[in-house]
Each structure stands twice: as structure tokens, then as C-alpha cells.
Amino acid sequence: MTELPGRADMSDAFLQESLEELYEQGPCGYLLTNLNGTILHVNDTLLAWTGYDRDDLVETRRFQDLLTLPGRLFYENQYFPLLRLRGSVKEVAFDLRREDREPLPVFTNSILRTDADGRPMLIASAIFDATDRRAYEQELLRSQQRAEQLAAVVRMSSDAIVSMSADGIVETWNAGAQRLFGYPAQEMVGGDLRTILSSPDDETWRETMVELRQGRPVVRDLSGRCADGSTVDVSASFTPHTNLLGELGTVSVIMRDIAERRAVEQLQREFLAVTTHELRGPVTGITGNAQLMRRRGAYSDRSVDAIITQSERLERLIDDLLLASEIQADRLTLAMEATDLVAATRAAVSLLGVGDSRICIEAPDEPLLVSADPLRLGQVLTNLLTNAIKYAPGESEITVRVTAGTGEASVAVVDRGVGIPPESLPYVFDRFYRVTDTAGSAQGLGLGLYICRRIMEAHGGQIEADSRPGQGSTFTITLPKFPSPAG
């Protein structure tokens, strides 16, 4: 066994040499500067890191000169004030500019050395290579930003986004979940998610958990019990998160109210039924009249008239469907021009082919110019007039009133018909909405007034309905005058 060498075995010179070597070549840069940053002393390590010769730096450059411009700004604004007032600064990140202009990320610690009278004399700094640490920091910052973005998405989402443990215990509960079910997070977190679900049954839930344990996402329709006692149907997507051993850790659950989706599906089913019914009527009429002529082997004016009438009805239905789908896809285009509202109204009335005695027009004598697409405006007027005739009994009078306001002009179509029930009035301009009459039946596609509203909106105008059951209805359209007041 040889004894380890001790202090007694080493000469002072050897120790001194070792210290110097540690100072010069240790894994850390050392730097002495005066108060304005001028470099007084620098060790070998820092020279090697920066690529400078000692003569390039000592008495020639300031520490700030080795910094990037933002670094200098930071040095002046924060590093130096701190050092001056607190006497030391620890672990501040800078980029040093190497002699080849490449950046070297470092951490810098400095102390202010004072003389016996407490007068600040010089700054002693230790500088550490922080290349790796800076890279981790950047990655950490990026991850933090990503996490914050995701958290914001979860927070702001209108969907309920919650997470639960493998046992179904709620771990997180976002604002969307609170909106959907009415329970705040503090009430739900830590509780069993199933306590607020009225379906599925145990068996389905167990199957769901089996799928999730195998790492497979699951989509299920569920019913939830809300805080206010109501029930909400949701579509839930379960995403399993497994740990390194493949065990189920957390499950993310995104739930969306499907009442709206179901309502849309229902509407679409009804629409299909109505459309089929409406289209079948004229087709039956056409086929019937054509077969009648063939059976008789003779031309019949009456049959041909009926065929033409029914064909025209078919054409109108198809036009309405096309127009509605264009509007729905936001592809309605308008050819706006200065249009005389009085002339347009008179033209629409005369097109109806109804006697003057039935329709009374109250309009100014001079033209009233509005900004409108004449074709679409005509469609709206025809639609309103046709409705008035359809819903007003017998020969009761219909009044069409054209009036001018300050920046706008309007046409009101007033009938003395059956009117619209108050509960239906707010919905008459909705798509597929059809007012049911007293006999419980309804007619048409439920598109006419919807199309009118959208056409008026596209014009920057509006359409309104007012009605008293048994007394009649008034439909009013309003359009901006030409030229529009805005210029």
C-alpha cells in the first residue's frame, strides 16, 4: 500500500502552479474589468472560448464589446445598475460574440470589488459556457408556450373538455363542461364522472374502459344529468393516454351537445319529406293529364293548360331550391343598380294578373330610386304578393304601400287574411319554417320568406312581418335609397 501524497509532499511552487493552472485552464472563464468594463485581465479558458488573443482584449476592449447589441442593452440597463447597487450579480444569461462573430451563450456572475474606503474599483466575473443549458431553456420555453396555447384552447373551447383517471375520477373540468352540465370544476374534480351520466349502462361503460385500456380511442353518445335537473345528450370522444408500461393513465374526454345536431338532422329529414311531397304533386298532375290525352287519343286544351301550369309550378319549386342552396353557400350575387321602387312594385303587381280591384297601390307619383338588383327585388315583391293572395280570403282587398323615409324607402304589403299566430311570427323568415293552419296542414317548402329575408339582407335592407290573427298581416321591406347616404 502506498500512502497518498499529502500537503507535506508538495512544494509551495507546485501548489502555486496548480492553482494558476486551475485559474487559467479550469472549466470557467475569469475576467477582471474596471468600472466602465475595460478588460484588465482574462484567463486562457475565456480566450479559447472566444477565439481572441490576450492582446486583442486586455486594455483594448470592454466586456460590453464582447456582447451582442441586445446584451449590451441588458448590461447597461440591468446588469451594471444591479452590480453597482447590490455589489454582485449572479447567473445572468448573455451571448458573447466570438472573434469569428459566432455567438457563445454564457452565464455570468460578477462581484464589485471595493478598496479599503469602500470605493468601487473593479468588476470580477466568472463566466460559464451555457450552450447546452440555453438549448434546454429554449426547448422549455417553447414547450411552455405550446402548453399555454393548448391550455387556452381547452379553456376557451365551447366543447366540454375534461380528463379522468383510469377509474373514471374527474381530474380536470373546463369552462365548456361547466356551461354544458352546469357544475363548476371544484364540484366535479375528484368525483366520479359517471355520477352525472344517466347513460350508458354499466356494461357499455365497462366495454368502453376495456377499449381505452387497450389504448384505443372511443366515441360514444352519452346522456348527462345537468345541475338544473335537465338532461343533455352528448357525443363523447374518449382519448386514452397510456404510460411507459402501457397502463392507462389519463383519459381525455371531449363532449359536445348533440341536441343541435339532432335538430338539424330532424329538419333535414322533414325537408326531404316536404320536398318530395311538393314535387310529387305537379309531377302527378302532368303525368295524369298526359295519360288522359293518350287514353282518349285526342288533344285537350284543358289538359295541356294543366300540364303547363304544373310545369311552371315545378319550375318555381326548383328555382326556389336552387336559390336557397346558393344563399346557404353564400353564393348569392346581386347586380345592384338604381332601381325605381314604384315602377318595380307596379310591375310585380301587374305580373300577378289579378284585377286592379283586388290590389290597391298607394305610391308617390314620382320615381323613388333605391339601390337594388331589380330581378331579385321583383322576386321578393312577387313572393310577398303571392302570399297575400294565398292567405287572404276571397276578394278581400290587398294594399301595397310605397313610402320614402330619410335614407331609405319601403314597400308594405297589407292583407286582411287569416294572419299569423303570435307564436309563429318570430320564425316566419326561418328556413324550412311553415306556418301550420288551423286544420293542422301546411303548404310549400318553407323557403319563400327565407329567400326574401336573405335577399333583403344581401341588399343591406330588411324585411319585417307584423300580424294579428283574424285581421291580417303586413310584410314590409326596406331598402337604402340611391345614392346611398354613405356615398
Binding site: 466602465n36 448590461y75 440597463n77 447597487l85 445572468v92
Partner: protein
């Protein structure tokens, strides 16, 4: 005499200068919201999205303390905050002392501010990196700090412990602001103190300020850097005294 600290620190910045004036003046010190021991709850992102928010605070302080014809001393960005306040309520101030002022940090056509937009973006990144939590210096409250018995605990605890989120916005507002068109509107006589070798407000910027501020005297100090009130307090005090006596 009201002293306004610049970006990055707090009112302690003035510790080496204010004692010279306490005998002759009432000295008012404050921290901008977000800095030092200010009430962080008073921070409002919208209000402080421009320097006008800070100028409004300065005027509120003047109003509260009934300052009229006061002497304003502002460092760095606070020089511009003082300029904005003096335009809004000139009667509040009889003199402005602007230390290292810059109306715009970013170069713009013929105007040389000393920085490019990229420099400022990098500064904001560096800032983020230093606030990450490893920097013991800049987050002393969070990290605890070295024993410095000669300084009061109070100073240690508060000095430069700017709230990171607020500091980020303050830095962006400071370094992206453009107050060049405000300068000619000032009616109060002013002194611009310019250092040698100031990386933040170079000589050309100081000269620009002097040319565009009506009644502005410029004194070039022997001090270097951006904080002469810290690196050369005696010279700074003398220059301010000369200006006040003139």
C-alpha cells in the same frame, strides 16, 4: 424634484444622486407600476401599452403631491415619459433633466436610433431567458439571494425584482415607441445629459433630442455607459446643479 427610473430597475437607481438634493429640494421618488415595490394589481395591459399610461401616472403623482413648477429628472425611457407629461400639463414642471434620452431606439430612414427591429426582438428573447427562473439575480424574490449584510433587506428584496410579464411589455413598449414628433411640443426648458459610449442612447440620438427639443441644453459627460447616475454620480450631480443654477 421628482425622479423617474428607467426600464429595468426601480427608484433605488437614484440612491447615489438624491442625497445631494434633499437639503435644497423636496425629493419625490416612485416606482413605475410593475417595478420595485409597486402594487402589481394596479397593472393594466391596455393602459400600459403605450408610454402615455406611464405619463398619466406621473401626472397623478404630481397632482396628489401638489407639484407645480417642479424639476423632473428622468432616466432613459422615463425621459420620454417626462416629455409626454410636460406636454400634457406644462405647468407641473419648470425644468426637465433627461438622462440618456432617446425618442426612438430603432433606425428609421435617415434617423439613427442605434437598433434594428431584430435587435429588439433578440433583447426580448434574452429577457425571457433571464426571467426563466435560473437567473438568481433578476428574480431575487423567487430565488432568495446572496447575503449582502451591508445592504438593507428591503433593498435586496425589491431591487430590480420586476414582474416578468410586466417587464416584457414594458420592454416592448419602451423599445418600440416613437416619440420623435412629441419633442417639438415641449415648452419647458430641458437638459439632456449624454454619456460617452452609450450603447442605448448614442451621441447622435442625444444630438437629435437637443436639436428637436425647444430650449434644450446638452451636456456631454465624461461618464461612459447608460447610467451616469450610477457610474459617475458626482459628475451627474454637478451637471444637474449647473443647469438648475443657470
Amino acid at each position: 424634484m421628482i425622479f423617474a427610473h428607467g426600464y429595468g430597475c426601480d427608484q433605488n437607481m437614484w440612491r447615489l444622486v438624491t442625497p445631494a438634493f434633499t437639503d435644497t429640494h423636496r425629493v419625490i421618488l416612485f416606482d413605475h407600476v410593475g417595478a420595485g415595490r409597486s402594487d402589481l394589481a394596479a397593472y393594466d395591459r391596455a393602459k400600459y401599452s403605450s408610454l402615455h399610461g406611464y405619463a398619466q401616472d406621473l401626472l397623478e403623482i404630481c397632482d396628489e403631491l401638489d407639484v407645480t413648477g417642479g424639476i423632473f429628472v428622468g432616466h432613459s425611457v422615463s425621459a420620454m415619459i417626462g416629455v409626454l407629461a410636460a406636454i400634457a400639463e406644462p405647468e407641473r414642471f419648470s425644468r426637465l433633466v433627461l438622462i440618456g434620452p432617446s425618442p426612438r431606439y430603432i433606425d428609421d430612414g435617415d434617423y439613427v436610433g442605434g437598433f434594428t427591429r431584430k435587435d429588439i426582438d433578440e433583447l426580448l428573447e434574452l429577457q425571457a431567458s433571464n426571467y426563466l427562473g435560473w437567473s438568481a439575480t433578476l428574480a431575487p424574490v423567487i430565488m432568495g439571494n446572496a447575503e449582502r449584510p451591508e445592504l438593507s433587506d428591503e433593498l435586496q428584496a425589491s431591487f430590480c425584482s420586476t414582474d416578468p410579464e410586466i417587464a416584457k411589455q414594458f420592454a416592448a413598449v419602451t423599445f418600440l415607441s416613437d416619440n420623435r414628433s412629441d419633442l417639438p411640443q415641449v415648452r419647458v426648458p430641458s437638459l439632456a445629459l449624454q454619456c460617452q459610449d452609450d450603447a442605448i442612447a448614442p451621441m447622435a440620438v442625444g444630438q437629435y433630442v437637443q436639436r428637436h427639443l425647444p430650449a434644450c441644453e446638452m451636456v456631454v459627460l465624461n461618464a461612459t455607459g447608460h447610467c451616469p447616475h450610477l457610474s459617475a454620480p458626482e459628475e451627474t450631480i454637478a451637471a444637474i446643479r449647473d443647469f438648475l443654477d443657470s
